[in-house]
Amino acid sequence: MADDQRGTIGTSPPRTDGLAKVTGSASYARHLRVPGMVHTALVRSDRPHARVLAIKCDAASRAPGVVAVVTAADLRRVVRHLHHGPAFRDQPILAAEKVRHVGEPVAAIVAETPAAAHAALPMVEVVYEDLPGVFDPVEAMQPGAPLVHERVEPAGSFADLRGLEPAAGTNVCLHFRLRRGDVQAGLRSVDVIVEEAFTTPATQHLPMEPHATLAIPGADGRLIIWSSTQSPSFVRSELAYLLGLPEHAVDVRVPYLGGGYGAKLYVKLEAIAAALALLIRRPVAVHNALEDLFYTLNRHATRTVIRSGVTRDGRLMARQVQVYWDTGAYADIGPRICQKSGYTATGPYRIPHVSIDSYCVYTHHPPAGAFRGFGIPQLVWAYESHTDTLARRLALDPLEFRRRNLLRSGDPQATGTVMQHAGFVEVLDAVAQRLPFARSRSGHVARGVGMAVGMKAVLTPSTSLATVHMYGDGSVGVAAGTVEMGQGAETVLGQIVATELGVPLHHVRVLHPDTDVTPFDTLTAGSRSTFHMGNAVRRAAEDVRLQLLDRATRLLEAPLDVLAVEDGGVVSREGPRRALTFREIMERTFGQGGTLVGRGEHRGHAKHLDPATGQSDQVTAFWFAGAAAAEVEVDTGTGEVRVPRLVCAADVGKALHPRLVEGQIRGAAVMQLSQTLFEAVATQDGQLLNPNLIDYKALTTAEAPERLEAVIVEVPHPDGPYGAKGVGETGVFAVAPAVANAIANATGGRPRDLPLTPERILQSIREADA
């Protein structure tokens, strides 16, 4: 208990944001109010692809309470560039000549109250000339398909995306190729070849707090941007680019986020809010309603074709994969997903001959981008369902078949990078031990167990910088750009600093991101913060500790090697016991008040992939391994599926705060189970049919597994803080195929399209019976 209160690494102290959250006083961007603030309603396109001939704003401009009605033409008075984006600068702040998806913002109504802004929405008349659209990535790749963009420019913001060169005259914004061995020769050498195709639909992140931004213009031309963003540093640099301002003129501040899951990365509402604030010279709030989430960013719909060759004794020899990603009308971060997740599309297996073609394709759907797992769940859905099909064909035990082929330390992954410090076998064994294969039937209810295992590479390269400040009284502030969106980063980063300085957790305050104060951080996503920011704050705390020791050598007149930091002070371990508290050291150093500043950074390095073969001997800083086992009950009369038990194991390296780690694994599992059973953004000819919570079903307590077990597996990484890797996404990897494999085990049917609706389950049973 004493350790818990100290917040030592490996224990589970209370969350430092807990009191604010259970009292309802935690601040979120949409709750902020400032004097003179005006409100915005966005006029959104009701066409998937059309030329904008005219925007008639007069009636809306005269409506009560309306301050201004703004179009792209007006924005050009204050912005230097109209288009933004992390991979390609293809997305306009407001649509200019064309609209490219339903829901694209065309004009902004700014008014004294939200009600006045929304009341004026129907008064804006947009005159369109409809153009033919394309709504399927495979169709969009055909010659003669309508072009979403005539040409796009690489953004150059990220080192790994700088070399992208989109081909002109096509909707393919990135074709990632990987070749290793000789896949045709490999296929000729095997006993059994199986080809299958799998699909996943677009899905929606559904953060309970939809996007919200408040932009406050200063008299000096500076802007303060309060926003629900996972990437404050990127928002600052991208707004500086768009507005033609130095980075110091844009201050991005982030309160708590009501969920993110990838929905709040890069520029979302920040550019329109900033531009409106500069035009109107008043603080401007722009809030998305829940429906708007569906028009802003979804998870990529995918189609995956996978073909494998195996020997009769169950050795995987060759695998060909084609993945088609529907990235929608604007690329967002789709190209990175297509490449970085694409290179794992053959799975965590040792296969000598592989080829991967991963296509990121524009369509006239709303944009698709990062979503917890960054494309990995769609790929694991395909390759792990396929793994069970292969095992069944070979009459091998699916667990044993996996164990025979899983990557082990020293094996080259498909990119050629040697696998190290990743426990694929360990996570699979962990779930298999807890939930072994079983099958039974009573009446029309079939029960079965299935499992799956998946892999992901951490985003590389990326950078985290931090400073740790010791104040005059010995208390500590941590300036880190990591966003607290529920994952518990504020608590864990505080724990690391408290541990390094030997002070109680409540002596440490982790600041909210504020780009005026908190140093650069690439983003809060991709399970990267514990490793990257964890290392950065640890080094910054070490820096402070060394400065304190250095001062103590003089104050105590003792050599460094006999001094130690403990219990909030420095003690001499030799001779008569002498000690100084940090407060005493600060007072004797500075007199009245002062600050010690420690600096820390961590940068992950990678070597570029060969563009022809996708090979690199150092493609990522490290790998995540996650496995799941599911027990299902299938009503073979109705096709309904229940999941009474789900076990997820994640190799996290080292659990710095075990309760938070378990919460991440379980939360990811719940989110993925929801997508497995229920979730799909329904579209028809580019129109969205269910952008609301009545028609888009998400999992509640009623459908949550009665037993939901999180298993922590610790294969430490030598470069991680205390051996830690990360955990935000690992729980999502394997849930969908584990459930489908359990259904196949129970019924003999093999569903290949998500979500697993009763109709599809019945259909798969009928196909198996036929």
Partner: protein, 168 residues
């Protein structure tokens, strides 16, 4: 405009309220309470759950005028409803102890981003006060937690239910 008299977290209020204003808007914009949160705006997600005469309701589906003559409880009123606390604290008084439901949510790590948490806790409190009329997993299905803390939430509620009488 109409005159609306209602109770809010133990205090009696009389306000002039335009007919079209929703209870969510009244609580957030006029009364500056941050605990009642609109998310779906359709009464599905439960983020705006408040107690109306002790029963959980979606504030986004209620006109503010409809609370005339009723008692509204938001998360801000929870500490004052702790067993042993009999009145709202005077201005400047030290913060009251947390309500047992809040303490249980803290102890069980039954939240992550915290956005749904006030509504979830109020629904849980109503469930316990009604004497657990059905399994908690059925009762709480009207409150969505997208971070997926359902196991932890149900653990917290189960623990509270086992200490019968403490929370009612």
């Amino acid at each position: 405009m109409r005159t609306v008299r209602f109770g809010l977290n133990g205090a009696s209020l009389t306000m002039e309220i335009p007919d079209h204003v929703l209870l969510t808007e009244l609580l957030q914009d006029s009364l500056h309470l941050t605990g009642c949160r609109e998310s779906c705006g359709q009464g599905v997600c439960g983020a705006c759950t408040v107690l109306l005469d002790g029963a959980p309701v979606s504030a986004c589906l209620l006109l503010a005028a409809e609370v005339d003559g009723h008692e509204v409880t938001t998360v801000e009123g929870l500490p004052a409803q702790s067993p042993g606390s009999h009145a709202a604290p005077a201005a400047g008084a030290p913060a009251p102890a947390l309500h047992p439901v809040q303490e249980a949510f803290l102890r069980h790590f039954a939240f992550q981003c915290g956005y749904c948490t006030p509504g979830m806790m109020l629904a849980a409190l109503a469930y316990l006060r009604e004497g657990a009329p059905m399994p908690a997993r059925e009762y709480l299905r009207g409150n969505l937690c997208r971070c997926g803390c359902y196991a932890e939430i149900l653990d917290a509620v189960a623990e509270l239910g086992s200490k019968e009488g403490d929370t009612a």
